[in-house]
Subunit: 465 residues, 2 copies
């Protein structure tokens, strides 16, 4: 599989000089970050943007072991045959018009599979957006140039998606938001050959991947998939599309997928330690939380200390925490005593800790530091959920708080609210600190619960995976 | 109650020249937008910022019918007595230190109530953030000046909240985001006198309010509350804090509230046509959706047409729609035929309509207009959920699409994804068009379902409220 992720050279079959064509985007994206040999193939050009263009992949010189194919579907079998003849190890077929389009397309896709069987060439796709590897600046995809706007934000989350959008428009969304990074995003399309299991296996062994998120409309080999998940030391998050009757119908025409029995699949995933997500951004939030905390200690982490600037937000936090089977930590007497030092006398301190009166008395910095330290020191507190209001003050810097929590080995989750730009800056700051911070309170608790659940799974497995 | 919302003159008791004090913020906020008489009261100053300051409310000249009180709790009864003596009709007591702080505070609050009984003066608070009225630029609150950053964004949603944060930090969040507007935000605190029922009754009759959202930790008079909700022609959204055991404990110390039996309350609210929310921002999303669509026709609106740029997003939309008891519309043959005109031959069109191939063939503008018109013309489609990707193209202008939908009398809901700044601009554009657009797909369907549910409630009530 390495030739897909670390090819020595890439032929781009269907490269184009026409700036609105996918074949143009692919070439430009590859040029932007790939350091190996780059060979546009198109009989219509002698060169594209000053780069020599070849009439056929057969003419392409070494080094080349991968081709990205973006030509009309009917031409793909011939091109694939030539790729095999040229000795390429794999192709990414990004053209659509195969099994997703009906009987004729299905036949066409079968013919690709026959070529694979005959020649041993591996096929990624068709009907896909290929690969984005943010760590190595590889964009083997016709995604729009906007993905490069702020550079590729690198992180430990890798994605396997049966959706072009999730590795294109959505990735642009993620990159331009900047609050999470990506390692690899693999768009697998119709899965004529390479499927989610192949990629899952690869990513489980990939040192640059910490968490694997998959959007799937079908699982080709359920047993292999579940076995892989069970054996994975890395957290795996799955979002399934087509759970409803109408959704399943749509999935059939989207990537020619048949979804299986929902409840059975969910049960199997849960017993294999997989976290199920339900929406795109929510999946990303769960993934980035698990990237920050793939395993926590103690694994049976449930007792949450809550630091808030608002009684109401403390109350809803408690509601959400109990609804997710976690508990609002009962603070030790020593902690209560320590907290009381910064609170007005009339205010009895308990968890959730409403910091507002302490902030009024002592200022924000002291109130947060003192209370963080108190919760970090309390053996009755496993984790901390903190709330921050931004805007109208100096920029919030949580590095000292993060350090306290790290020393105490307690995971931190944050909720930020306030001025739009300040809240965004705070989330960027939190990303640098490797702390998950959210704009919605429910989401913060939901992600916290996913992290804790994953650790309990590890505990049940004997603490090792 | 009008003297709270439209006072002729306001005394600010506890006004301060110290720029970090709440009494300073209140004065500055009132000065910024209120056109009536403004009278700082504080024996420590002759003037504040060039405005004459009075030693006591007794000295304050006419016109004055309201006082905002922000002095230490122990001084409040004396001040309140003077306000009654001066002939004021009401006071907003924004100081804390009453029933929320224990036995002594409870006694103090009781003494306020006694003064009310003896004199007839009405009390808003204590322990509250007062009123923000975006339409009339009234900020009777110690909220930070950041709320004025982009001006007060006006809208049809009014809030009644048992939380300072929700009418302060959170309102700053909303105002700086700009994707929804507010009419009035009322922070009611300990509800010594004026409670959620009084304000609900007022807002139901308020011509500037279209939807009422309430965050409550207790309901003082359940029967009156439910009767008001039932009689309201305006949608009412309730977020309850303290539903869990620990949350209820925290609510007790926050605003001295005792939450009632959760399931009973939920049932009563549902039968009164109230939409229950579960989180702060989610509540705002539900409120702004209902502000755009307080009542739709046909009231039994369920069949959704989905226009997407992504197969996966179409599939999840279908999943969410079915999960919420709505249905994916079965397009009429005429619609399918009309849509087929813009699609490649190989692609059989069905709902969800994946526009991507049509956009490739015809460009975005034509693909969206043609498909919108087709769905608007289809009697089998009650409402449209559309997806937009922004970034890398010209700015999306949906005004023509909105007009089509308006002509066809079909509600529109949108999901936007893409470059951060472009997505935000698109949401601002959608607000101007009075169309609810969301950054998360699940939220879009959730809000759609809330709107439809409200209309079915109206239908069951005979179409009139």
């Amino acid at each position: 599989m390495d030739f897909f992720f670390k090819p020595k050279g890439v032929a781009i079959i269907g490269a184009s000089a026409n700036p609105v064509k996918g074949g143009h985007f692919i070439l430009n994206n590859v040029l932007k970050g790939f350091n190996g040999g780059i060979y546009p193939v198109n009989p219509g050009y002698q060169e594209i943007n000053g780069i020599k263009c070849y009439p056929s992949v057969l003419e392409v010189p070494d080094p080349v072991d991968l081709a990205i194919i973006f030509v009309p579907a009917r031409m793909v079998p011939g091109v694939l045959q030539e790729c095999a003849q040229r000795g390429l190890k794999g192709v990414m077929i990004e053209s659509g018009g195969f099994a997703e389009t009906g009987e004729q397309g299905k036949q066409l896709q079968k013919s690709l599979d026959q070529i694979r069987k005959d020649t041993g060439i591996r096929i990624w796709g068709p009907n896909c957006m290929g690969l984005v590897d943010a760590v190595h600046n590889l964009v083997f995809s016709f995604v729009l140039p906007a993905i490069w706007d702020k550079g590729l934000q690198t992180g430990r989350v890798s994605l396997v998606v049966q959706s072009g959008m999730l590795s294109a428009g959505f990735l642009i969304d993620i990159m331009s938001n900047g609050i999470m990074g990506i390692s690899k995003a693999c768009s697998i399309g119709n899965k004529a050959d390479i499927n989610e299991c192949d990629l899952l296996e690869y990513l489980i062994d990939d040192p640059e991947t910490g968490v694997i998120g998959l959007y799937l409309e079908s699982i080709a080999d359920g047993r292999r998939f579940i076995d892989l998940c069970r054996s994975s030391a890395k957290p795996i998050v799955v979002l399934r599309g087509g759970k409803s009757r109408k959704g399943a119908e749509a999935a059939l025409s989207h990537t020619a997928s048949l979804a299986g029995n929902g409840a059975v699949i969910s049960g199997a995933l849960a017993t294999a330690g997989v976290v199920e997500a339900y929406d795109f951004k929510q999946m990303m939030d769960v993934c980035r939380s698990l990237a920050n905390y793939p395993q926590i200690s103690p694994e049976d982490c449930r007792r949450v200390g809550i630091l808030t600037m608002s009684g109401a937000a403390g109350i809803l936090s408690a509601d959400f925490i109990e609804a997710h089977g976690l508990s609002v930590a009962r603070l030790s007497p020593a902690t209560v005593e320590k907290l009381q030092e910064i609170f007005p006398e009339w205010m009895p301190v308990s968890n959730p800790v409403d910091l507002w009166p302490a902030v009024e008395l002592n200022g924000r910095k002291k109130a947060y530091r003192h209370s963080f330290q108190a919760l970090c020191d309390d053996a009755e507190v496993d984790a901390i959920l903190f709330h921050v209001f931004v805007g109208g003050h100096a920029a919030a810097d949580i590095s000292a708080l993060v350090e306290m929590a790290r020393q105490a080995n307690k995971p931190l989750f944050g909720w930020v609210m306030g001025r739009r730009e300040d809240a965004h800056k705070f989330q960027l700051h939190a990303r640098e600190q490797e702390i998950p911070v959210f704009g919605e309170l429910y989401r913060a608790v939901e992600c916290m619960a996913a992290v804790f659940k994953r650790s309990r799974y590890i505990l049940r497995k004997g603490g090792k995976l």
